[in-house]
Symmetry: C2
Subunit: 567 residues, 2 copies
């Protein structure tokens, strides 16, 4: 079994694996509250290991309790007697002169079971192949395979207790002295030299401008995506804005209002909205497999769901003397402070009808998940327009005004539009299509990841993922299949607390489904969602392929493998 | 060539066909204004027949001018000399003692070129095979094949000039004395005995209750579907309501307002909205081909677009003291006057959020296309809720009230819901799904009809059809293909004059696309639409099959044939 969050798997850990394994096991976990409850119930199945299991559970319960807030967790499963035996006379992660030294390149070659699975912590190199090989349930640790565990440990800080670190040293095989490459290598005149530091958990698809997504596996863990895990989609260098000097210009027909950050925070009622921001190119990599496209090679994690807070558009416009109902202008334009080399700024606009109908939902936001918006996400202020593509939700917001015309920005007029699959760069006419606003219904399987090897003889598999639709259309059903789409089962939808007609947040889902009997080898897992307007995802990527690789919302298909049963 | 509304085809008529054909030719036409202009231009290509063509054009121009208002037209193409020769000494359609008598059953066997194509007018039987065989462009006349021309002539009354009727007699082969069967056969105690008369153009899928759709071929002719052509979906016998006694009860928390028809007409501002009404089961017949479903075997014409006029919901509720914004009730319920055998009435409800956001768009309607709503469509009053399924747009509206619960009507709770394709009658749980409200994006090819034989050597084909999406989402693109979906071309969208975010009406479209070179035999024509939220239609019927055969919005595929070129 791949998933770590079902009672059945934990039972396996307690009663079988745990007693045959004499080393401490690193593993990621999720859905802590659930797991905590289920752990207790697994005790009944582990007579011969009761003491160990109880101790383990006590540890887990404490670690998990502390990390439930952020959701996903990396922890060390401990055996009490082993822990006592493992006391060290050196700092975990410090250089050990009696061990060989490896390069980062050496470590990065060790990502698979065949090559061995290595990870690093500070100056330590660890071989965790034995654990991973024996326990497919620990798949999440593979996220760190061939690289450093630190980003995960920094994120879920509870694990750096010295006892746990000492245990980790039992897997120690060598030293590393190199530092990972970062943006510090950029010369001072490089426009991206002043970009902020980012979590190394993120997987970059481009470094300048910086664009990166988290491992999809971690997405379905949290209804609210942690800021450090939220995908980053920058078009230009990140502005470095002094909050004391920040101002937002709102141009009315009679006057131009200028609001500073303090004015935005204190002058208006604070409105919070849990809303998805998604890149139009999310899941583009599936289109690339059909035929090449222009664009970042996004997996299924160029999407996140956060709680955004700030002033409503309506309040800000009213304060600035702009009358959305009375105006004859056709578009509301937003401009950012991120500038291209020739000085032009990023901008976007929305149709006036959309501004009107969403005026109390659109947020001029200064908070993301209760914190100041991080620099990569628009510090200090961005606009959140729920239900539409990320590209219009201008970051580093500098100016708002009405116009007869759409934003003239490249990304409004010459990008982020849909075309049929017979249009390519030789015959495209961007004026013939409309700028993407509301997005169509989409879903994805986050867990298990593509290519996962399930446990030998698995007869079922637990899938978890997200589903979302633009325009506030709530998700009413997610169908999952373990036979490539021949038969379907409804997934369990986790309530998001929003009205189905104003559902700006995503819906997380989970399903445990049988694997077709006698099946060994590849299993194709599929999911597809239905929104409240009964829109469905299209069956194939071929039918929606487009030259920019946007709007990639076909049924999400991944392959996992079931080893043939040896019994 | 199949289509009759392109310049190229008319040119063919003028310069080639017309001169080789010594009989008068019946044919349907459409898009009159367009054709009128193009006709004039075809004169240049018909030197040897200029006189005839000009006379023909003069006649056509006059007939077409008179019928442009209604759109689709049946007319006789005339040859001037033939017309003069054809004067008769009897009434067209009267019994001719020297000709054989046929039964309706005899006539109904003559629908194909192989069997001969017969039609009737009054007591006359006509064999029009020669015309149809020689001229595939006349395909619309096949709608009347095996039956009476009268419904079409009654609809487009201009054709019953005595001259035209005299010409028709040249095709006369016999007499008919039977009357077509109608509902007059029902005994007085049959609950359907008092149903209204319907246009025989409609193709019934059930007679009690009466359900019928027009030939899809006629749908794309008119932005506003003529009342007589509008599909009928009745669940119960049609109430026979005396307008002087009609009343609408609107139950507020404090009082119940009772409005009569005159009060509705005179007491409120009249609001008009062009809006689609579509049955959830439109295009069900495509699902039936995969696996049987429960439901009427609708083709692609269980949809219509009409101009509805009446009082807004908001005005009626305000008048009745109902506060949509302030209420804590969750649903707005509508009840009709159509009763089941056990006395229960048809009803439906919509979520309160929907009532709020559409309060100025929902119409308590008493007019359909400028006329009192016909009995089959809810006379004297129905509710029009733009953007949602027809089933909630209660006809013969009797009562409106707020409720904590959805309508308890069978059709709200135990019907008109979506399920995945692995749910069938043995495992369905209607409570597990949500009542269909807003509909997903759909489109269909109306012209040419399935199975049409194109002209020998055709290298292109003209397609026409409709596209629409629920929730007011306008259509931004229709893709058409003549190679089964391998390559695509954009269709030309006819503007519907509505905002893309409040697009309640459909979008008619047209495209002329090349037939793959050297292609003979079956050609698969396909269309698919994209709405402003970039929702697309699913590729396959298999992926959306459901036990009730609703929401059938896969790519619309039809087969036509191209005879092998004899040259």
């Amino acid at each position: 079994m791949i998933s770590t969050n079902s009672g059945r798997i934990l039972h396996t850990f307690s009663s079988r694996v745990w007693n045959h394994q004499h080393r401490c096991l690193p593993v990621f976990s999720a859905s802590c509250r659930c797991r905590h409850v289920r752990l207790a119930s697994t005790d009944h199945g582990s007579r011969d290991g009761r003491n160990e299991t109880n101790n383990t559970n006590t540890f887990l319960a404490s670690a998990l309790g502390a990390t439930c807030v952020v959701g996903a967790t990396l922890y060390w499963k401990l055996r009490h007697d082993k822990l006592q035996a493992a006391e060290l006379d050196y700092e975990p992660g410090s250089i050990r002169p009696n061990l060989p030294t490896y390069s980062l390149a050496d470590v990065s070659k060790h990502k698979t079971k065949d090559a061995g699975i290595w990870v690093t912590y500070k100056n330590g190199v660890y071989d965790i192949t034995e654990y991973v090989t024996g326990h497919p349930g620990g798949s999440k640790i593979l996220l760190a395979a061939g690289g450093s565990m630190e980003p995960y440990w920094n994120m879920y800080g509870v694990h750096k207790q010295s006892g746990i670190l000492q245990i980790a040293e039992q897997y120690r095989i060598g030293n590393i002295v190199e530092k990972p490459a970062g943006s510090e290598g950029l010369s001072a005149d490089n426009p991206y030299a002043n970009d902020p530091p980012r979590s190394p958990i993120l997987i970059p698809s481009s470094r300048a401008p910086f664009n990166a997504e988290p491992p999809a596996l971690l997405l379905a863990e949290n209804f609210l995506t942690p800021n450090d895990l939220f995908y980053i989609r920058n078009h230009l260098p990140v502005p470095d804005i002094d909050p004391r000097k920040y101002s937002l210009e709102v141009q009315g027909s009679q006057k131009t209002a200028v609001l500073d950050l303090s004015g935005l925070r204190k002058g208006f009622k604070k409105k919070s909205v849990a809303a998805v921001v998604m890149c139009a190119g999310n899941r583009r990599s599936e289109m690339v497999r059909i035929k090449s496209v222009k664009g970042l090679n996004w997996g299924a994690a160029a999407i996140g769901n956060a709680n955004w807070a700030g002033a409503t558009l309506n309040d800000v416009l009213k304060h600035s003397g702009i009358d959305l109902e009375g105006t004859e202008k056709k578009h509301l334009v937003f401009e950012g402070m991120d500038k291209g080399p020739e000085g032009s700024v990023y901008g976007a606009s929305i149709p006036i009808e959309m501004a009107r109908s969403l005026k109390d939902e659109i947020v001029i936001a200064y908070e993301m998940n209760g914190e100041p918006i991080p620099r990569d996400h628009g510090y200090p202020v961005r606009v959140i327009i729920p239900g539409i593509v990320g590209a219009r939700q201008v970051k580093w917001l500098n100016k708002i005004y009405l116009s007869d015309e759409e934003s003239e920005c490249h990304w409004q007029r010459r990008d982020y539009k849909g075309f049929n699959s017979s249009i390519d760069w030789h015959n495209v006419d961007f004026d013939s299509s409309v700028a993407i606003m509301q997005l169509p219904v989409i879903s994805a399987i986050c867990d298990p990841p593509e290519g996962t090897e399930l446990e030998e003889g698995s007869d079922e598999v637990t899938l978890r993922g997200y589903a979302w639709s633009g325009g506030g259309r709530g998700i009413v059903r997610v169908d999952v299949s373990a036979d490539g789409g021949k038969t379907w089962q409804n997934a369990e939808l986790k309530p998001n607390g929003q009205s189905p007609y104003r559902a700006w947040a995503w819906t997380l889902w989970e399903a445990t489904i049988p694997i077709p009997e006698g099946k060994a080898g590849d299993v194709e897992l599929v999911c597809k969602a239905v929104d409240v307007s009964y829109n469905v995802q299209p069956d194939s990527v071929e039918g929606i392929w487009n030259l920019r690789g946007v709007l990639s919302n076909a049924w999400h298909r991944i392959k996992v493998t079931v080893p043939p049963s040896s019994g």
